[in-house]
Amino acid sequence: MSTAEITGGGRTPWLLAAPALLLFAGIVVVPIVMTVLLSFHDWGQYKGIETVITLKNWREIGTDSYFFEIFLRTFRIAVLVTAISVLIGTPEAYILNRMASPWRGLFLVIVLGPLLISVVARTLGWALLFGSTGLINVALVRLGIIASPMQFLFSETGVVIGLVHVLVPFVVISVWASLQRLDPQIENAAVSLGASGFRVLRRIVLPQVMPGILSGAIVVFTLAASAFATPAIIGGRRLKVVSTLAYDEFLNTLNWPLGAAVAVLLLIGLAAIIVGSNRLVERRYAQVFR
């Protein structure tokens, strides 16, 4: 509490924050701890949940290749979604930033607005487009690009496309925010010193927006790895990812302890990736964070 005296806070900030702190302790910490405990409990078809401590669920996840395959697929989808979102979101943010006033605001709303629309409604659109009689297949067949309708629905490609659509705005906004901090004079200086447009992009703009790209990528990765509605609707019941696996264990198989172990593993894995990549970003780009 010694630093509090500097601004004369004393107990005041703690009193102000106390209601929210108590609420969160009760309905965030307790449920999470209970879930971790649940993952160590036993379960049987007829006996239900047994409150013993066992590593059974963890051993099952660790040894059964079924779980390994689902975790691997989730990771693969998340990596692909992140890569594509960065590759198309970054240039889009740059283009938006160079637009003139009325267009810039309008397109920013069009790009960011979908974040406010329910994921179910947006994914439904892709399900309609992807169907074998959907627009994409009809167009591709008519243009002679493919002979017979392609299977997007229930495929990993379909899930990746749907997730990129849901998550790419996070890259755009993150890069957009770091472009706002950019001093256009530096670009002008580079041009006046004879640098080509491409060189200015690569040597001046890109290094400065790199932290924005990386923080956007982290957000996209974590949301893609834990996405539920899009893989459930486009991927269907067969193409399972970690979230839909946990959902099935909880609401169909009713093996709650196993489902809890899957969820806790997802939480630990994502936390490790977030902490690890944040460290990397801060170390490499320490001078950019002021």
């Binding site: 601004t7 609420l23 283009i95 607005g113 439904l124 309609l128």
Partner: protein
């Protein structure tokens, strides 16, 4: 700053088409006059919008969603305002940790939160209740409410508050007459963003909803799992129209870019 070249504009057009495609298709199919999924090539019809009224499950879920979003975001704002003032005003030991704690629901995947709440509420006897839904939604909307109130409180000129106290105002009068009006845009935007976040959530809510207390997105999700027909497109289109109205209002009130900087669900 130089202008965008033709290649850049072509890329931009493709990007915008990609963003709008699924939304436009849902809205278009919703106006079909046919009894099956199709684009309205033979004129527009509102039959599928009228059909929503004959499907009480959707109407009830919509009403429950509105109540849930309004209640949880209002309660979250009540908790967020004092907490934001504490973090914005005082440099106390543990300040960073307190802030990180309040933001933690953004870091925890919603599937994990859904599972944790399902276990928790079932254990304490709140399983499948509306109170349980409200409590869980307070948690997921709190970071959004807090962040916007915090941004408003940090930028505030405290000299005005000191003047109020010097002129004899009680701390409560000062808060009501000076502080609150000054941070009000942040509070209102925080409330609206919290409302939308609650209204849109599927992933967490799908675990804790029950047949008697269900939200509209979860109802739609479960419906789509069985079959996709024009009815669900008209419900989606109605949601998209509502969201668009709120979106324009939020953009005017606060600016969508500021709203989402650093956001992650």
């Amino acid at each position: 700053m130089s202008r965008n070249g033709p290649a850049a504009l072509a890329f931009h057009a493709l990007f915008i088409a990609f963003i709008l495609a699924p939304i436009v298709i849902v809205v278009a199919v919703a106006f079909t006059p046919e009894g099956y999924l199709s684009l309205p090539t033979n004129g527009l019809s509102l039959r599928w919008f009228r059909a929503i009224a004959d499907y009480p499950e959707f109407v009830r879920a919509f009403r429950d969603s509105l109540w849930l979003a309004a209640l949880s975001s209002s309660i979250a704002v009540l908790f967020a305002v004092p907490a934001a003032l504490a973090v914005a005003r005082y440099r106390f030991a543990g300040r960073e940790a307190v802030l990180a704690f309040f933001m933690s629901p953004l870091m925890i995947p919603h599937v994990v939160l859904g599972i944790a709440f399902l276990r928790f509420f079932t254990t304490i006897g709140l399983g499948g209740t509306f109170i349980g839904l409200v409590l869980s939604h307070i948690v997921i909307v709190m970071p959004f409410a807090l962040r916007l109130v915090l941004a408003a409180s940090v930028g505030m000129d405290r000299a005005i508050e000191h003047a109020a106290i010097a002129l004899g105002a009680s701390p409560f009068t000062m808060f009501r007459r000076v502080t609150l009006p000054l941070i009000l845009p942040g509070v209102v935007s925080g409330w609206v963003l919290a409302f939308i976040t609650s209204f849109d959530d599927v992933t967490m809510t799908v675990f804790i909803a029950s047949p008697s207390t269900i939200t509209l997105p979860v109802r739609m999700f479960l419906y789509i799992q069985d079959n996709i027909d024009p009815l669900v497109t008209s419900v989606s289109a109605a949601m998209i129209f509502l969201t668009a109205i709120v979106m324009v209002a939020l953009d005017r009130l606060y600016g969508l870019d500021r709203l989402f900087v650093g956001a992650g669900r």
